[in-house]
């Protein structure tokens, strides 16, 4: 009976449980999580705030998941330290859990820069279900009318939409000059910004919050923010949504090698035998940049956790790699961004194909390198995006048909018959 211990029960941890169980029907699996519910979809927390989803809908696995997989979730327990020689994980209640194979799937924590007044009541981060529940409760209890969201990335835009749906007035503050700057180039960003502004959102770009100020009657509660350029924005709530940083606390100072996140090989194994890492805490392989790096994305955490699980259970499996890839549904303007979204304009090794239809608010951009797709941006026209993604992932040379890739009627029929057969699209 192998003892598998997993720290963290989100995307990577859950996927690892399933993989271990497929490869090893008997070995005991223990999953340690500080959360009260261990199988919910974090990307859905903004739907919880908007009221579109409840905690039941948010469950990404059925409640019998743990039973089916014969795994023991240890809810509301925090792993506080690790002994790599003894092979134990210590919990906050003093218990020591012995492992034979360990997976660190501790995820990320919100990055909160130092700001004066950040301790005031009404300042939130936004990464897990309790953040969302606290935020929703606060909106109700103080009848919040307005909010400042710091960060115009994926999380910032998602919480902004939820707040707008709740009837709040929202100002988004973004340090970069453009919103969604990791996913879109300037043209794409401008198109999306116009759409979001029409929904009533204000943007303050190229600056950050220097100070959170209190209310006249209660300095301990959020009353507004002062931006770095000097403007004052009154608000009832501040949501810090800048991004996440890996939760490496457990291994800091240990033999486990850390760069920005935990360093792993293609089998999701760390430099320490029997210790694996996956998900937002790990630096996994990016097949476009051809290097390992942090890519805190749910679908990749699932793939990484699965690979870790198989390898922990002795089924050698290599990670195929991921890349920066996001699909956004917010404000009624679907966006897909994969790989290089915004390469440097002076990079002569790249070829860029663009199509823009201003009337229909449509923007498509492909970045090619040596006739292979390395970047995909689709704004308001994401139908069949997966075909392009798979041409990218399989490193297909598109030289002969690249002019067809941005056609309005793009689909499998416009691609060469040899490819159609190779992919099994036709017999």
């Amino acid at each position: 009976m192998a003892k598998y211990v997993i720290v963290g029960a989100s995307a990577a941890g859950i996927a690892a449980v399933e993989a271990i169980r497929k490869a090893d029907p008997a070995g005991s699996i223990t999953v340690i999580t500080e959360e009260a519910c261990a199988h919910y979809s974090r990307p859905m927390i903004s739907d919880l705030v908007s009221g579109k989803a409840d905690t039941q809908k948010m469950k990404c696995k059925t409640d019998d998941f743990w039973k089916i997989n014969n795994a023991e979730p240890r809810l509301n327990k925090k792993a506080v330290s690790l002994n790599l020689t003894e092979k134990t994980v210590s919990l906050d209640d003093g218990e020591k859990v012995v492992y034979e194979k360990l997976l660190l799937a501790t995820g990320g924590k919100p990055f909160v820069p130092k700001m004066e007044g950040q301790e005031k009541d009404g300042v939130f981060t936004f990464t897990n279900i309790s953040d969302a529940q606290r935020l929703a409760a606060k909106i109700d209890s103080i009848q919040a009318k307005s909010a400042v969201v710091i960060g115009a990335g994926l999380i910032g835009i998602s919480v902004t939409e939820a707040l707008i749906k709740r009837g709040l007035k929202v100002t988004v503050v973004e340090l970069q000059e453009k919103i969604l700057s990791l996913l879109l180039d300037a043209i794409g960003s401008d198109i999306v910004e116009v759409v979001i502004r029409k929904a009533g959102v204000n943007f303050a770009t190229g600056q950050s919050v220097q100070k959170i100020i209190g209310r006249p009657e209660n300095d301990g509660a959020v009353g507004g923010v002062i931006l770095t350029k000097g403007d004052q924005v009154p608000c009832d709530l501040v949501i810090v949504a800048i991004g996440v940083i890996p939760r490496t606390e457990l291994v800091v100072g240990s033999a486990v090698k850390i760069n920005r996140g935990i360093v792993v090989d293609n089998f999701m194994q760390t430099n320490v035998p029997d210790v694996y890492a996956s998900g937002d805490v790990a630096e996994a392989f990016d097949f476009i940049l051809n290097q390992n790096r942090l890519l805190p994305l749910w679908p990749l955490a699932v793939l990484e956790g699965r690979v870790a699980g198989y390898n922990m259970a002795g089924t050698k499996t290599s990670y195929e790699g991921g890349t920066n890839m996001s699909s956004l549904k917010y404000f009624g303007i679907p966006i897909v961004s994969i790989g290089m979204a915004n390469p440097k304009p002076d990079d002569t090794t790249l070829e860029i194909l663009v199509k823009q239809d201003q009337e229909h608010i449509v923007y498509k951009k492909l970045v090619l390198k040596n006739n292979v797709i390395v970047g995909i941006t689709l704004v308001n026209c994401i139908d069949r995006a997966g075909i392009l993604f798979n041409l990218m992932k399989d490193h297909i040379n598109v030289k002969k048909f690249k002019q067809d890739l941005l056609r309005d009627d793009f689909g499998w029929a416009v691609l060469p018959a040899t490819l159609q057969r190779k992919m099994g699209v036709i017999q």
Partner: protein
């Protein structure tokens, strides 16, 4: 498992597969009502891909290791371990379109009105999927294939 196979050489691009799929996924199951009076509008889960003279129909292939299931953010997309079908629970779907981003066949349809994905369910309950049963030239066949 039994899967729907497209025969490109037989396809005329007539689009009847889409018509019958739409009808099969309507409330009334009536072709006229499905197109004229149902709200929300029923959606075809099969798509006729045309680039004349080439045409063929595409719908979910119920992949063995389905990328949409792994990528699904909400748990709406599942692989039925018994039947092999890739199932989609629209009540769980959050309309994030992540499955659309990864499906190699481009087979997942965006129901923009319902803000959820629509996909082939192999017409559970019917003897044969409606697209196959109503294809006039056997360009779609439903047969046992290796997974």
């Amino acid at each position: 498992m039994k899967k729907i196979i497209a025969k490109q050489e037989n396809c005329m691009g007539c689009g009847l597969c889409e018509v019958y799929c739409t009808t099969a996924h309507s409330k009334s199951k009536d072709i006229v009502k499905a197109y004229n009076s149902e709200h929300p509008k029923p959606i075809s889960r099969v798509r006729r891909e045309v680039n004349k003279p080439v045409s063929f129909a595409i719908q979910c292939r119920h992949c063995e290791d389905a990328p949409c299931v792994t990528a699904c953010l909400s748990g709406a997309m599942q692989k039925d371990q018994k039947t092999g079908e890739v199932t989609h629970n629209k009540d769980k779907c959050m309309g994030c379109w992540t499955c659309v981003m990864v499906c190699p066949y481009g087979a997942l349809i965006m129901d923009k009105e319902g803000h959820v994905v629509a996909k082939c369910d192999l017409c559970q309950g019917l003897e044969e999927p409606a697209c196959v049963a109503n294809c006039p030239n056997e360009a779609l066949v439903f047969k046992e294939v290796k997974p």
